[in-house]
């Protein structure tokens, strides 16, 4: 037995202090972590510029992306202001092509292509299409992958077994093959490219969701809901899904550059957006055909394409570190 006379109550003087922390909303905390990552902020800056160009770029000058002017073919870039510095002054091999073609009052900022179309407008239009393809297919990936993963993980057992075997088979086919075959069958076009990429792209998402669902369904609040007889759909989308949201957002963000790459690959193969529409991939592919004669037609879209890919990856990495630090990079 403890001899109580030997001990006295110490009280609360100075030993125990209540620390109170000011509560920062979690989105704000995420924002702070994200902003500390220099690369991610720079990436976001470039992405925003390209998004702005994609939205308003085509209306920034008087040309349209599909208007062909035969006597204005292959004009080099010429930008007002910069031309005085000796760059982007419309000269090619020392000759001012604008004077040769008799259109000194015109300014094609990124030059014109072999059909006399304004490359700046086409570039903005192409960025727009590429971004639409990427964002829509990432969104479709998200819907299919999340639903599939939730069901597979939640039901478990035989359902899970069959669903996982199906995934293993689909995953055995390289996405290069799936996407190009599907586009061949459906005829090249915006919709078929998006559908083809959605069909091949959701596997990773569903694996992530399934693994997390398996873990979450054992937790107390889900058990409680089950016991109370909550409908399965409600449990899946209202109780499990919100817990996965941050990893799902990161994963979707990470899949955007992949989709842009796949689109540019398809354009190169000749399965891309049909003319006269443009995408970043088709601009690079067109530029490649004339790269020896008119290098600017390739260089401009290729450089911006590279910048866009790097920026998107930087933003994705930054988001991952801010939202979902546990998810390690593969």
């Amino acid at each position: 037995m403890v001899d109580h006379t030997r001990y006295s109550f110490a009280g609360n003087n100075g030993i125990y202090k209540e620390d109170s922390f000011s509560s920062i909303p979690s989105w704000k905390e995420t924002l702070i972590i994200f902003c500390k990552n220099k690369g991610a902020v720079i990436g976001l800056f470039f992405v925003l510029i390209l998004v702005i160009l994609a939205i308003w770029g085509p209306t920034m000058n008087e040309y349209t992306y599909d208007y062909m002017q035969v006597d204005r073919q292959n004009l080099p870039p010429r930008i007002p202001g910069l031309e005085k510095l000796g760059i982007f002054d419309g000269t090619m091999n020392g000759v001012n092509m604008y004077e040769v073609k008799g259109c000194t009052e015109e300014y094609y900022w990124f030059g014109t292509d072999t059909l006399g179309r304004d490359l700046f407008t086409r570039f903005c239009q192409g960025t727009r299409i590429s971004l639409i393809v990427a964002v829509v297919s990432a969104f479709l990936d998200l819907i299919i992958g999340v639903t599939y993963g939730l069901i597979s993980g939640y039901y478990g057992g035989k359902v899970d077994f069959v669903m996982q075997r199906i995934i293993e088979i689909i995953n055995g086919i390289p996405s290069l093959v799936v996407v190009s075959l599907l586009v061949v069958i459906m005829k090249p076009g915006l919709a078929s490219i998006i559908v083809a990429m959605a069909i091949s792209g959701w596997i990773g998402m569903s694996r992530l969701v399934r693994a997390n669902t398996l873990r979450l369904k054992e937790s107390e609040h889900i058990m409680a809901s089950m016991t109370l007889g909550t409908k399965t759909a409600v449990i899946l989308f209202r109780e499990i899904f919100p817990n996965l949201l941050s990893s799902v957002i990161v994963m979707a963000m990470m899949s955007v550059p992949g989709a842009i790459f796949m689109e540019s690959f398809l354009s190169f193969v000749g399965l891309g957006i049909p003319a006269p529409q443009a995408s970043l991939g088709s601009l690079i592919s067109d530029g490649y055909n004339h790269m020896l004669m008119y290098p600017y037609q390739l260089a401009i879209p290729a450089v911006f394409f590279g910048i866009l890919m790097i920026s998107l990856n930087l933003v994705g990495d930054g988001l991952r570190d801010a939202l979902d630090p546990k998810q390690k990079q593969a």
Partner: protein, 311 residues
Amino acid sequence: MVKYCLKRIGMAAVTILMIIIILFFLLQLMPGSPFNNERLSEEQRLVLEEKYGLDKSMPEQILIYVKNMLTGDFGVSYNIQQNYPVASLLANRFPITIRIGIQAFVIGVVLGLILGIVSALHHNGALDTGTTIFAMVGSSIPSHVVALALLFFLAFKLGWFPLTYDSGSPFRSSILPTLALAISPMAMTARFTRNEMIEVMGSEYILLAQTKGMKRLHVIIVHGLKNTLVPLITTMGPMLMALLTGSTVCEQIFSIPGIGSLFIKAIQSNDYNIVITLAFIFSAMYIGIILVIDILYGIIDPRIRLSGGKK
């Protein structure tokens, strides 16, 4: 171990079988058919259908198709070289693609490993920052953009390398495509190795090895590198996949007579037999590689074997 291997092999076999069946149905869906020519009379059409076994029932056709694919009878080319068997068309092109692919993969992984280790050892130094930036840029920029840049500057402007593939000097012509393709595996390996190595070098058994007075190089290679390599194996699947997609476009850019450029040409000229065959070969290669990686991983890491699959 044997059970694990058999299970993996069985799974791969089923996958290949399923892929052949899927490809069979895709072939039916392909737009246009050699038999819907209006000039063909009903009789001629029937004769043709009998010749190609199209009068048989669907399951029979599938069986024949699976048998043909597995025995290497891929049919004939429609457009690229009319009536020439696809298998012989591939025979000449296959080795070129494989050679360039292996060159790029080996160079990429080896250089990536070296870069990764060096930058992990100089953690937070200038070299580390440089490697991190390189890894970021290298794994973001698609190989065809790299290929175009190399082609323009090194081949066209400086004239160091031939502009198109020259079968007379296969080594010199393969340098640029190899470089273009090696960038992405190199960047991915460097990034992965660096992160993994930093973690391993910070662990207690490395500290123990160092306190026992082992030589630095010995600690790095025997204790550090060995434990870094194990997880690296899992990244090789996606890496090879990226290489496959990249090589298709790079072959087109450098006009290399490999199977990648043939794939593009076949798609553009609607030569479906070649498209389907190459789709099958790409899938089979990919499945084979994944199988090897899975088994390797099972040998190295017993935990994977017991849980019956990765993840």
